[in-house]
């Protein structure tokens, strides 16, 4: 037994279906062929074979290779495709003395869990507030002797050179700037590790204050997007740890 409301639904859907189909089956208002033609040119060219002009094969050639492979020796093409190459002249000129990059795959012993570390301090304040470029050299100093088996392998006071690797500026809503330093070297010895420092994140107070402001004054929370985070600063007081390559101090052990 079908429910009365379901019966109503079936009848209603049938009526809708019939009305849609009847529209689709409706005949077009005009049956004159001229009303369906796009352009007169197309009609005049194609109605009689005498009007058809032989097409010039040269107009259809795309590449030189295609021409050479498909044309007869007597046929000449008027198209000479230009080889357009855009040069990066500035890079080519300014970097012409650059040697090719030689990739040296570093072999790490991930099984070894015993590592030696060296503590370093910056020689001056390094801040994202002062304009600097990626690749700029900065200096650190070893703050404590590194001992291994009674031998001093790295002395206090040795200068460590480093390079600015990445500078990420501060963002909206109080997100702080950060700086990454890498490529640490004591003479010829390359240290492993990076120093990452982030500025003060104002997001912790910007979010609650902006939400509260938006509650009382509509859309005022969007003004807080202009609050930028703090600059990343590395002070001389701060001590950082870098890893000494295992092969260096293992060599010292053998000696």
């Amino acid at each position: 037994m079908i429910n009365f409301s379901v019966k109503k639904l079936i009848v209603f859907s049938l009526l809708i279906g019939i009305s849609v189909n009847s529209n689709c089956l409706a005949e077009p208002k005009s049956d004159k062929i001229q009303d369906f033609l796009v352009t007169d040119d197309f009609v005049s060219k194609n109605q009689s074979p005498q009007n058809i002009q032989p097409q010039n094969i040269n107009d259809f050639l795309i590449t030189k290779d295609f021409v050479l492979k498909n044309s007869t020796p007597t046929l000449t093409t008027s198209i000479t495709p230009k080889e357009i190459k855009i040069h990066d002249y500035f890079a080519e000129q300014s970097l012409k003395n650059c040697k090719p990059f030689v990739y040296k795959q570093k072999k790490y012993d991930f099984q070894n869990v015993n590592h030696l570390f060296v503590k370093v301090n910056s020689t001056k304040i390094i801040s994202t507030k002062t304009p600097m470029n990626v690749g700029d050299e900065v200096f650190f100093v070893v703050s404590k002797d590194v001992n291994h088996n009674g031998k001093i392998i790295i002395k206090q006071g040795q200068i460590v050179s480093a390079r600015v690797e990445t500078i990420s500026e501060s963002g909206t809503y109080g997100v702080a700037a950060d700086i990454i330093l890498g490529n640490f070297k004591i003479g010829d010895l390359s240290l492993e590790g990076e120093i990452k420092k982030e500025g003060f994140t104002h997001t912790y107070w910007v979010i609650p204050v902006s939400q509260a402001a938006g509650f009382f004054i509509p859309f005022s929370n969007h003004l807080f997007r202009f609050v930028h985070g703090g600059h990343a600063k590395i002070k001389p007081k701060e001590t950082f740890e870098l890893q000494i390559p295992d092969e260096f101090w293992l060599k010292q052990e053998k000696i």
Partner: protein
């Protein structure tokens, strides 16, 4: 009672989120998944990234995208990326960018949980940072960092403004990458494997004004950050 049980079981079946399972069968998808794993883990190991990051392949061909999930720091790459990439470097460039996001997902308080909030508030900053870090990751893993420019030229649309957008303008992103490579790894530009590549050529064509700005910056030894068009 029967109807109640059937309802509960069917509800449970439809509401359980499908587990993000790796494709491991012997079909084409399995091979692609393995390849992505090889590239991804090569980048992780070469850069000594001490965080667990996994890679998943989604064989939805209509999507040209990849993303890093902050919830579990996994990276998903869609089939569309694989279809448009011409070599391994280009796939690696996408993975390296997402790895940078995943690494950021481990930083900060609550094991990086708050990092997602910061990303949502200032996504453009992290996109620039991820592009730059991707360059470093690629070089350390033995890939060509110019593949980032090639891949971005192929797949990134150019919007008019990025004031309220989550990503910076594509033209700015590729120029920042180009400047970064010029400053840190100029040998890749000097011996450019992609010099004749159609997509790199298109980048040169569309970035003429921006490259002139960079040229002036370098000639004047300026340290001011440029705002590209």
């Amino acid at each position: 009672m029967k109807k109640f049980l059937i309802t509960i079981i069917s509800f449970a079946l439809f509401t359980i989120m499908p587990a993000n399972a790796m494709v491991t069968d012997d079909t084409q998808d399995g091979h692609v998944q393995n390849k992505i794993n090889q590239i991804g883990f090569r980048i992780l190991n070469s850069n000594k990234i001490p965080y667990r990051i996994t890679f998943f392949y989604n064989n939805n061909a209509k999507t040209i995208n990849a993303y890093s999930a902050f919830f579990d720091r996994s990276i998903t790459i869609y089939k569309g990326i694989i279809l448009i990439a011409d070599d391994e470097d280009e796939i690696a460039s996408v993975l390296a960018h997402e790895i940078s996001h995943s690494v950021d997902g481990y930083q900060g308080i609550l094991r990086g949980y708050f990092q997602e909030v910061k990303y949502l508030l200032s996504p453009k900053k992290y996109e620039y940072k991820a592009d730059k870090r991707a360059v470093d990751y690629l070089v350390n893993a033995g890939y060509n960092p110019l593949a980032i420019i090639v891949m971005d030229t192929k797949m990134m649309s150019q919007y008019r403004y990025d004031v309220f957008g989550t990503h910076p303008l594509s033209s700015r992103r590729v120029m920042e990458v180009y400047e970064y490579i010029y400053e840190k790894y100029p040998s890749f530009l000097a011996h450019n494997k992609y010099a004749d590549n159609i997509y790199y050529q298109n980048f040169l064509l569309t970035s003429e004004k921006n490259r002139k700005k960079l040229e002036e910056k370098i000639k004047t030894n300026s340290k001011k950050r440029l705002k590209y068009d």
